[in-house]
Every structure is written in C-alpha cells, then in structure tokens.
Symmetry: C2
Subunit: 72 residues, 2 copies
DNA sequence: AGTAATTTGTTCGTATGTATC
DNA sequence: AGATACATACGAACAAATTAC
C-alpha cells in the first residue's frame, strides 16, 4: 500500500488545479466519491481536503448538487 | 442536548480570540482535550477546527508539545 | 404527489504514528 | 519506559438539499 496523500496535500493539489484552470469558475468538481477514487483515499479525507479549499474561498459546496468553483 | 458548535464556528471563534489577544503570539492554546471540554464537542471536532486555523496561518502545531499562536 | 437515489454537511469514535517530556 | 499531545486516515451515523422517476 502506497502512502496516501494527506488531506492538506490534496487541498493544495485541488487549489493548484483550480488556479491552473483545470476546473474553471462555475464548473463542478468531481463528486466526493470520484475524487476519493482519483486520489486513492477515503471520502472522509476528500471532505477534509475540501473543507480547506472551501475555507480558502475557492469552492462552494451545495448539498444534493455538488461542489462548484467560485468566481474570481 | 444543546446543538454543538460546528468546527467551522469553533475555528472562527478561535480566530477571533487570537485576533483579540486572548491568546497572544507565542502562547500555547489549551490542549485538544481541554478545548473539547470548553466547547462541549469531541476531540475530533476540535482537531478539524484547528486544521482550519492552522491553514489560516494563525497557529502551528507541535506534536508532543502543543499548539502555539504564530507570530505576526 | 411522493418516494428513492444521489450528494454534500457534520459529528463522533477508532486506530496508528510521531514527537515531546 | 511511560505518559502526554498532536497528525492523520478511516469508517459509521445521521441530516439536509437536490434530482430522477
């Protein structure tokens, strides 16, 4: 079992991908489950990572819809 | 059972107390367990709150020692 | 109209590791 | 060696909003 990325590292990775335009403003991120698969971590870890990215003001979560990249 | 504060609210509260000088730069915060008692939440929730405060650059954790308020 | 499925929000507890005292 | 304290991952449980049928 490879060492998993920490939720902080995942938050930094998501932050960088958003800044790089991979996830443009207004677009929806993959679901928690999809991201968990992409990063090979649990859904809980993705959620903790996204809490940081939300706190950084880069994304907004919406229950039932998804997590969207903020404008600006 | 009263509704517990969310970890985000606790993070905001800690941020405000630091900003107000209640926890001066260089000082040590109460331990996770002490804060859990003060806020009537689990240690896990305090840890999640502190992840945000750490990400905001206001405190630095040091395993075995405690969590300290950053300078500046 | 209503129910089920999907998705995020949040808390809690457990386990393990590392660092300090 | 042992106790204390933070770091991190994981999973369970439930809530709430949305969507699909």
């Amino acid at each position: 079992m490879p060492i998993p990325m920490s939720s902080r590292q995942i938050a930094d990775d998501l932050t960088e991908r958003i800044r790089a335009g991979e996830y443009p403003p207004g677009s929806r991120l993959p679901t928690l489950r999809e991201l968990a698969g992409l990063y090979s971590v649990s859904v809980s870890s993705i959620q903790r990572a996204q809490e940081l990215v939300k706190d950084r003001g880069l994304v907004l979560g919406s229950p039932g819809r998804g997590v969207y990249v903020a404008d600006r």
